[in-house]
Amino acid sequence: MNPIRFATPPRHEAAEALRHDVRAFLHDRLAHVPPIRRADSWTGVDKDFTRAMGARGWLGMTWPRCYGGHERSAFERYVVMEETLAAGAPVGAHWIGDRQSGPTLLKFGTEAQRRAVLPRIAAGQAMFCIGMSEPDSGSDLAATRTSARRTAQGWRINGTKVWTTGAHQSDYMILFCRTSGTPADRHAGTSQLLIDLHATPGIAIRPIIDLAGQHHFNEVHFDDALAPLDALIGQEGDGWNQVMSELAFERSGPERFLSSMQLIVELIAVLGKGHGDLTRAAIGRLSAHLIILRRRSRGVAAMLDAGENPALHAAIVKDLGAVFEQSVPDIARGLIDAEPDLAARADYNAVLAKIVMNAPSWSLRGGTREILRGIIARGLGVRG
């Protein structure tokens, strides 16, 4: 039988109780945030907001207490993630650390790294970025060139990372690089390093402005940058496997289908009460997709919680999530005539503009549609 069964998401009473608190907090906290800023969601950075989340115990929720975590269930954490995203909260200052970098350190980091960094992520005081992509290594991550050579003074790093979201605001980067051999060796000889962006000499961060005129991602140049030897995460040479295990966390969360949520709710606001068949049909269909995507994403959360490896399932959620998110602007355009305009006074037109211009990135970041479909095909057993 084909292997695409998803786990059944359990009903979790503690998580549902928590949902109430999170909603109340967000209601207060976001009362004056305009819809166009909510539409930024996980690219919106507000360090005060992130510290407030940390103060409530809503970051590092599943981690052990000794590392500043709260030992809560994956389902409670899921509730916090989906509620903050659905509300359009500015989660960018903690999203990567909480979702990806923290779990990587927890799994592979040294005891000293865990003690030094994890409590700060959980408190909302350390922001992370991911240094994987390079000018000549996008989908083909194993072609990475950035090198770190072991020297008496520490790791000597040379190379360039690109598209590094939030590097200019971050405290740390988890750097994927080559610690031995050449790019021709592919997966072998790659490692991950924990880079302190404030304390590492030889790093230059330059903005890349995206097509919507926003500054989220960056070029990060390493020019004989020097990091201490204990910056190594996990095993030297095991970087590829470590990164692959990280990606299941990156690919299945609610951020993979809620990116256009603010357009949906603004659309519903504009449609109001007077509507015909066509409108009901479109909104009914959007709702059904959202409900089913959410169920699958929670199914992956249940599988992660049970210690399974749902890499295939996560890829399915991300692929269909992106297709869904990207379909929303055209559906909205079919229902309401409005010119997209970032500066519009009308919330709907402004949010439409924001979503239209950000949508192309959703099937690129975190693994492109084509790469995901390749992973799914491999999971189905039709690709060597």
Binding site: V265, I268, A282, I291, R373, L380
Partner: protein
């Protein structure tokens, strides 16, 4: 292994063995597959949704619905889900269970009770010409009631869906002996939910057949599966099959819950699974090439069933109207809580 896993495993094997080529083809020509029904009935499957105290065997309702998914997986040419739901309605109303295959007629058919007789016409009743028991839902003083009929109808017109499963028009004029207020969910919702489960099962099968086909079939000197375009289409189909699977889980859970209104969950499941059926059957037929467009190959047992089931008990128009109206009614701030509650 749990009891439920054992029941499901046994049922899966039984259906796989007995829905063989000869049986399915003769059923599609209109014969009633009596020995297949007997095997299913001997396992007690028609009672799977009946509570233990009323003659059932204590299967969790969610697992019982999984039987309907298996029926879909094997394109079972029998009214198994229908009989399960009919028996559940009877049991919950405190009426005697059906002896053999049964059909249920939802209140939407508009049958009326007058002078102790149920009368009216019911369209497209699954295996209407074969079933021995009808469970009729009707309104009495504004409340749903169910009646159990063993006779008092005739086949006004026989027909099938495009998968050659009987869908008959019955003309009913029956004196009722056994009737009681309905206790379960509305039968139309049960019908809609069963189709969601069957769609998910059939899509599991269609995906398996497609994987097998592109792995075997060679063109340009290599298996079709080695072409990236083919792999990506299979991945797309897998995503749709997974969506239908999630829809099946949602519908089963909502209908298994005795309290609460399952309507919006069923609506969402119905809309999404119907769309999955459309996309995935398109891909499957394409990947199979011309051989998939024949009666020789069994792909069409499943795709034609999917093309039928996606429109039975309300098509996308009906269900999107229903879910869309509810979503629009809660408005901007209510929308996310609405999504979470489904």
């Amino acid at each position: 292994m749990s009891d439920a896993a054992m029941v499901l495993g046994t049922a899966d094997r039984l259906m796989a063995d007995q829905c063989d080529d000869a049986t399915v083809r003769s059923a599609r020509r209109g014969a009633w597959p009596a020995s297949l029904w007997n095997a299913i009935a001997q396992m007690g499957l028609p009672l799977a949704l009946v509570p233990e105290g009323s003659g059932g065997f204590g299967l969790d309702p969610v697992d019982a619905f999984a039987l309907a998914r298996l029926a879909g997986r094997h394109a079972l040419p029998l009214p198994l889900g229908e009989t399960m739901a009919a028996n559940q309605a009877l049991a919950l109303a405190g009426l005697p269970l059906a002896e053999g295959p049964a059909a249920f007629i939802p209140v939407e058919s508009g049958l009326v009770l007058r002078d102790g007789r149920i009368t009216g016409t019911a369209d497209r009743v699954p295996w209407g010409a074969t079933v021995g028991t009808l469970v009729v839902e009707y309104l009495l003083g504004g409340a749903r009631h169910v009646a159990r009929l063993d006779s008092g109808w005739r086949v006004a017109e026989s027909g099938t869906n495009i998968a050659h499963m009987p869908r008959d028009r019955l003309s009913i004029d029956a004196a009722i002996t056994a009737t009681a207020p309905a206790q379960g969910h509305p039968l139309y919702l049960m019908g809609a939910g069963l189709r969601v489960l069957q769609i998910a099962g059939a899509l599991d099968q269609v995906l398996d057949l497609s994987i097998a086909h592109v792995s075997d079939r060679k063109q340009f000197g290599r298996a079709l599966a080695t072409f990236q375009a083919i792999q990506h289409e299979l991945a797309r189909m897998a995503g749709e099959a997974a969506a239908a699977g999630a829809a099946a889980g949602l519908a089963a859970e909502a209908l298994a819950e005795a309290a609460g209104d399952p309507m919006l969950s069923v609506a969402a499941a119905r809309i999404r699974s119907a769309e999955a059926a459309s996309v995935a059957t398109g891909v499957a037929q394409q990947l199979h090439g011309a051989i998939g467009f024949t009666q020789e190959h069994r792909l069409h047992w499943y795709t034609s069933a999917l093309w039928s089931w996606r429109d039975e008990y309300g098509g996308p128009h009906h269900w999107t109207q229903c879910l869309g109206a509810a979503a629009l009614a809660v408005g901007r701030d209510g929308f996310w809580p609405f999504v979470v509650a489904a």
